[in-house]
């Protein structure tokens, strides 16, 4: 076969004139029942996103009932005073709507997405779920059994198994954060409809809830719509609730969750650090991106693109809980999978990358590309209503101002190489990282011990 005729080459083009874009500013208000409402009109977004945040954090779950917030969240879509569980699901789907609900450390979130023309109907269903959930014995019992059935599936998933072990290692045993968000077999089995209702009555009320509505609201009388739906929800006034500070033990050590015969080792290397109320946050975001935000970041440049040990390794900072009084924290972690025989060499390279970063710092070019990406992708990232609603809801949940994200973009652009280096080196100190490896202990234990990154213990996968 002959080589093909060559093409005519041109110089790399220059960028055109950027068009202005800003993270959307929501309009904030409240209903007579105390429900806080954030709204944001996004022209062209035919699928409207509604996020409802409830101040029902995992920390508020009664002792021995871990998972009750999750079961409550799921039970919201299992029938109301107007519809049975089956009818409720049918009515939602008839609107082309989806309703997801989940419980996490800061609280319970319900996410509704529905075509704008059917918003009224779907908001009515959502309001019924919050105002008058049935929590029927039989349905709660089914959700509990279903949840118990899910647990073995999660434990068999290497990434989920690693996350569970890291939480157990990092946080003190008495802290809710040390235990699985959705409960264990023992605690879930103890949940019944009475427990769900008691949790609901204690922690769910409009005065401590927020609704975020984003989408093309052309021709939608949202005030009237909200008044008729979420406005009919009643409840007592808010009571202040103390929140314990997040503490973690990040002494450098290694835990191997043994999965004999595994062809890969799942890595999860983490600790806790600054959250979004900390001034270092923008620099930490920037530095973490340079370390492991994408496949051209430092970790993948070596582990993937040079060595081929992995399909990809990422570094990230994920807020666990964030509060103005400094009691919050973010999980700072590196995760990915590497093939079993190369587990030792991959970890050695990973530590070398971290040490080199601490010794030499980031380059200006790296910092510039990272800023251009993190700031430049914003209009793409926030194209859909759901993406905007999710970020606005995160801000509320984390007690941040409504212009936090817009401000963050300006701060990122103003963050220098030195600050970004300091932040990421502080975030990932080589001797204060807890390493969880889900893999074949017989094959990986020895090579990992030889690295000297901390004491190695092996636990059964269960």
């Amino acid at each position: 076969m002959t080589e093909l005729a060559t093409m005519e080459f041109h110089a790399q083009p220059q960028a055109g004139e950027p068009k202005p874009w800003a993270f959307p500013a929501p309009e904030r208000g409240s209903l007579d029942n105390g429900l806080t409402v954030l709204r944001c009109h996004r022209p062209g977004q035919q699928v409207v996103a509604v996020e409802v945040l409830l101040d029902a954090p995992l920390d508020a779950e009664p002792a021995g009932l871990d998972g009750v917030a999750t079961i409550m969240a799921r039970a919201f879509s299992e029938g109301t005073d107007k519809h049975s569980a089956e009818d409720f699901a049918a009515e939602l789907e008839r609107c082309g709507a989806t309703l997801d609900a989940h419980a996490d450390h800061p609280g319970v979130r319900l996410s509704l997405e529905v075509p704008a023309s059917r918003l009224a109907k779907a908001l009515g269903l959502l309001a019924d779920a919050l105002r008058a959930p049935a929590f029927a014995d039989g349905e709660v019992e089914r959700l509990v059994r279903n949840r118990l059935d899910e647990i073995p599936h999660e434990l068999a998933n290497p990434a989920r198994r690693a996350a569970k072990e890291l939480s157990k290692e990092l946080f003190p045993a008495e802290a809710r954060m040390s235990r699985p968000r959705q409960g264990t077999e023992e605690t879930v089995a103890a949940i019944d409809s009475a427990a769900v209702r008691a949790f609901y009555e204690r922690h769910v009320r409009p005065a401590t809830a927020t609704a975020v509505v984003v989408g093309d609201l052309t021709g939608v009388d949202l005030d009237a719509l909200l008044g008729d739906t979420l406005g009919a929800w009643t409840g007592s006034a808010a009571e202040p609730r103390p929140v314990p500070a997040v503490t973690a033990d990040d002494r450098g050590r290694v835990v191997i969750v043994d999965r004999p015969g595994a062809v890969q080792t799942q890595l999860l290397i983490g600790r806790t650090g600054a959250d979004r109320h900390d001034r270092v946050w923008p620099a930490q975001v920037l530095g973490t991106y340079c370390l492991g935000g994408t496949l051209t970041s430092r970790l993948d440049r070596v582990l993937r693109e040079e060595k081929g040990y992995t399909y990809g390794v990422r570094a990230f900072g994920q807020v666990l809980r964030s509060a103005p009084d400094g009691t919050g924290a973010a999980m700072l972690a590196i995760s990915g999978s590497v093939d079993t025989p190369n587990t030792g060499p991959a970890l050695e390279d990973l530590w070398t990358v971290l040490r080199k970063l601490a010794a030499e710092g980031l380059t200006d070019a790296e910092r510039d590309v990272a800023v251009q990406n993190l700031v430049g992708v914003a209009p793409l990232k926030y194209e859909t209503a759901a993406a905007v609603a999710d970020t606005l809801a995160d801000q509320v949940e984390q007690h941040l101002p409504d212009d936090f994200q817009a401000t963050l973009y300006r701060q990122l652009a103003a963050t220098g190489t030195v600050e970004a280096t300091a932040a990421v080196v502080n975030a990932f100190p080589v001797d204060r990282l807890v390493t969880v490896l889900v893999g074949d202990a017989a094959q990986i234990k020895e090579p990992v011990e030889a690295l000297g990154i901390g004491e190695v213990t092996v636990v059964a996968a269960e």
């Binding site: 093909l4 790399q12 068999a156 496949l295």
Partner: protein
Amino acid sequence: MPMGHTATAQAGSGGLTATEHRLANGLRVVLSEDHLTPVAAVCLWYDVGSRHEVKGRTGLAHLFEHLMFQGSAQVKGNGHFELVQGAGGSLNGTTSFERTNYFETMPAHQLELALWLEADRMGSLLAALDEESMENQRDVVKNERRQRYDNVPYGTAFEKLTALAYPEGHPYHHTPIGSMADLDAATLEDARAFFRTYYAPNNAVLSVVGDIDPEQTLAWIEKYFGSIASHDGKQPPRDGSLPDVMGGQLREIVEEEVPARALMAAYRLPEDGTRASDAADLALTVLGGGESSRLYNRLVRRDRTAVAAGFGLLRLAGAPSLGWLDVKTSGDVEVPVIETAIDEELARFAEDGPTAEEMERAQAQLEREWLDRLGTVAGRADELCRYAVLFGDPQLALTAVQRVLEVTAEEVQEVAKARLRPDNRAVLVYEPTAPADETDATDENEEAAK
């Protein structure tokens, strides 16, 4: 507020339009303007997928897709990723049975860069392709295979069921990830030959969607892609046609270390692009889409024999599509109990057809899926390419949802009756074994018997 049968006046297309163009070298171009957000999506579909691979070289199309990110004449190493991300864009590529796609979503003022990059690798990949990239990406892809398929419970179910559903020698018998042995066997010369055969302007469709000036965009496309030579080396894929039904039930029992018993099945369904395939999509949605479907209500809510139960449609244009059933059992429930219930539900559905309310619900769900897909510039660009490459007409993307809404209950019943039958499915049954760490032989038997 009126509750019409459709969610939007234009039923999903939102009044969108697209224009079509063709360069002298055969490159087809589709443009669609949308100035709501200052972003532009570039999508390039090459008409080549795993169905074009030959025996002993499964996985080559996908491995090759990785090599497309390893530099070309004017783009060094990882430059494609670096330049797009540095411009505030996002990008990737994927490989399926029927095509390979590459896409960049850019801030609108960086569109020209994405076009320049795509043209550079379409015209000059071989100038940069070397052994080092080949060896490195071979290892990366093998780790992708381990991570996504080999190291997760039920991870190889898709591969196993596909191999059952399409006979040995059929172009869709193997999945795009390929086998480890074939990935090991692929050579640099294979990759070069693959490029020379399939990567040509006349074997691709380029779509650009978003905040663009169509005239300027077309001028850039002409400038960067216009001089790339077309060629006719392409081999058509082997014939994928098969009889409408399998004519018997195929079955494989998998004994593996999985957390629960599972029943999975693939039904042979009409090819994508036909009205019957839209009818099949609606039938599967009524039966197993979402939490108000017949199977979910029966197995998860009423019988409480399953932890999850659902149907999905793998739409294929060059071979029969597959209706994909996935049920994970609850507790100690045995598979025959589930299978009997499913057969009862499918038989009842074939007998009675969907109710009016079920039709309304299924159509609302599929319409919503289309709204989601067409709601981003990248989603729209991909759909325009899909219809252009597989069906020869990108405009069909903008009317797809209308066609789903036109299907009648009778047509849904008809396809269910003809296709959702026990003699038209391949079945995969998972039976859990004890974990491998029960080393003592006698213990192992005891564990397995639990």
